[in-house]
């Protein structure tokens, strides 16, 4: 029998508890790591394990830990909860989350036929983002690929790897985000001026991706998108809540803040909104007119 060295003895006694998780296939790629489906042997359940790529990059590792901490602080049904964080036996950082079953927003949209369904889904996307803003956290990388929709229509905003806590030090020169959904101030790498209105911009871009398709976009809705995606943050909605409220007004057939309606359009909207009583009144008037004509003979 060959005897173990002191080093091997110490290692075997202290080997990290990474064996708690048995890794299966990758289920996604985040900005900083790979997400695996994994089995949590301790609690006998399936979880998603996000494992950092490139452990040697200390800046990346610090950002990864920060992501885990930020998400762990955001307890909301629309944000995937973090259960555990640590290091695998090989030293790679990880954190464990609930395994989300569903599909990405872009894939989910093909099953939605009406504009109303899409807009109500958009409102549900806005809720966790507004919650995060209320807690001082800006996502900075909102896009359809980072939004999952569960089998019961529940929405989960994922991948908070680029999130920033309000008041944190700026990261000079860093361009964080995804082209097409990134606010202009993010594109120039001016992280110091990036605030929650960058997420308003991204949500505007998501809204556009959700409703663009066959048929023209109603002008009030187009105005909502334009305002959300204004070049200057000052021209955008002041908050995600304000954006979602304007979408809600559009859904309810009310005037939206982003669009000053001409009189004729307002009348048309009111007519459409009160279609049933208007038809009844008109039918009544026509009947009265016919009766008067008949009585006058």
């Amino acid at each position: 029998m060959s005897l173990l060295s002191d080093r091997a003895l110490d290692h075997l006694r202290d080997v990290p508890d990474g064996e708690r998780y048995r890794l299966h296939e990758p289920v996604g790629q985040g900005g900083m790591g790979t997400v695996y489906r994994a089995h949590d042997a301790e609690l006998d359940r399936e979880v998603a394990l996000k494992v950092l790529r490139g452990e040697g990059d200390t800046e990346l590792a610090a950002r990864f830990r920060e992501e885990a901490r930020i998400v762990a602080r955001l307890e909301h049904p629309g944000i995937v909860p973090v259960h555990d964080a640590g290091r695998l036996p090989d030293g790679r950082s990880f954190y464990a989350m609930t395994l989300v079953r569903g599909e990405r927003l872009d894939a989910h949209l093909t099953g939605l036929s009406t504009l109303g369904e899409r807009l109500r889904l958009f409102q549900r996307i806005a809720e966790p983002v507004a919650f995060a803003h209320d807690r001082g956290v800006i996502h900075r990388d909102l896009k359809p690929a980072n939004i999952m929709v569960g089998p019961f229509g529940e929405v989960l905003v994922m991948d908070w790897g680029m999130a920033k806590v309000a008041g944190a030090l700026p990261e000079p020169g860093m361009v964080l985000g995804t082209a097409g959904f990134m606010a202009p101030e993010q594109e120039i790498g001016d992280s110091g001026s990036v605030d929650h209105r960058a997420d308003v911009f991204a949500l505007g871009a998501i809204l556009r991706a959700m409703i663009v398709g066959p048929g023209s976009v109603p002008r009030p809705l187009a105005a909502i998108m334009d305002r959300a995606m204004a070049q200057s943050p000052d021209q955008r909605y002041s908050s995600v809540t304000a954006l979602a409220a304007d979408v809600g007004r559009f859904l309810d057939g009310e005037p939206v803040e982003a669009y000053p309606e001409p009189v004729w359009e307002r009348l048309r909207r009111l007519a459409l909104r009160h279609r049933t009583p208007l038809v009844l009144v008109l039918a009544y008037l026509v009947m009265r007119l016919l009766l008067l004509l008949l009585a006058g003979r």
Partner: protein
């Protein structure tokens, strides 16, 4: 192999020493001597300053006396841990031998254990070189070394039998065979053994789990009560076995 001669699983060596089954008692004694001779040797050299020859003689004598008289069977698990009791028995044995001052009376030239004394001498030299070490710590460390080494050997045998040589080879390469302290990356191990990084992770996890199981099974046999077993497991591996 230990597991061939003594059915270690779930049968306590400590209990078997006091049992009525002569065959089982003999096997238990062998298992006990195999697990403890090395810590005893290092302790003798450290604690009593015994020379190489004296220590060898005392090891043989101690186990021969324990075997013949059966005093290890008097262990009371409510009063101490078994390894503490064994060490106290050893202290008493050495005191008596020194008082008698008769080398011929010790083992009487009896050789009952096959001892790898060169390896044990290296252990002693290493332990003695550590200014913070003391005889009791050295005894404990050698006991852990024997326990872990035997568990690794059992794991090697079972992995070979069950066709999981790659998993064991990964375990050796990452967890055991790191002379300069620089561990290979999972990626390089995977390339060397033709498996993915995920498979490396899972093989290592499985081997560590089985290693711990081996350690716990042996630990259970070397302890006299459930409380002692759990206390030793906590001390050795840092957690309570289920």
């Amino acid at each position: 192999m230990a597991e061939d001669r003594f059915p270690v699983t779930r049968i306590s060596v400590v209990a078997a020493l006091a049992g009525t089954d002569a065959e089982l008692r003999e096997a238990a004694w062998e298992a006990l001597a195999r697990a403890y001779w090395r810590p005893v040797y290092v302790y003798l050299r450290f604690r009593f300053g015994a020379s190489h020859e004296d220590a060898e003689d005392l090891v043989q004598g101690f186990f021969a006396r324990a075997h013949a008289s059966g005093y290890l069977a008097d262990f009371d698990p409510t009063r101490a841990r078994f390894r503490t009791y064994l060490r106290l028995c050893l202290d008493r044995f050495v005191s008596k031998e020194r008082a008698a001052a008769s080398r011929q009376k010790r083992g009487g030239g009896l050789t009952i254990l096959p001892l790898d004394l060169a390896g044990a001498d290296r252990d002693f030299a290493r332990a003695a070189a550590d200014p913070a070490a003391d005889p009791e710590l050295a005894f404990q460390k050698e006991w852990v070394r024997a326990l872990f080494s035997e568990s690794v050997e059992a794991l090697r045998a079972r992995s070979t039998r069950t066709g999981r040589g790659t998993a064991f080879a990964l375990f050796v390469a990452y967890d055991l065979d790191v002379p300069d302290g620089t561990r290979p990356t999972y990626d390089s191990l995977g390339r060397k053994h033709g498996v993915s990084v995920t498979q490396v992770t899972n093989h290592l996890a499985a081997m560590r789990r089985e290693f711990r199981r081996e350690v716990l099974e042996r630990l259970r046999t070397m302890t006299g009560s459930e409380a002692e077993f759990r206390a030793e497991a906590r001390e050795l591996l840092g957690w309570d076995p289920a």
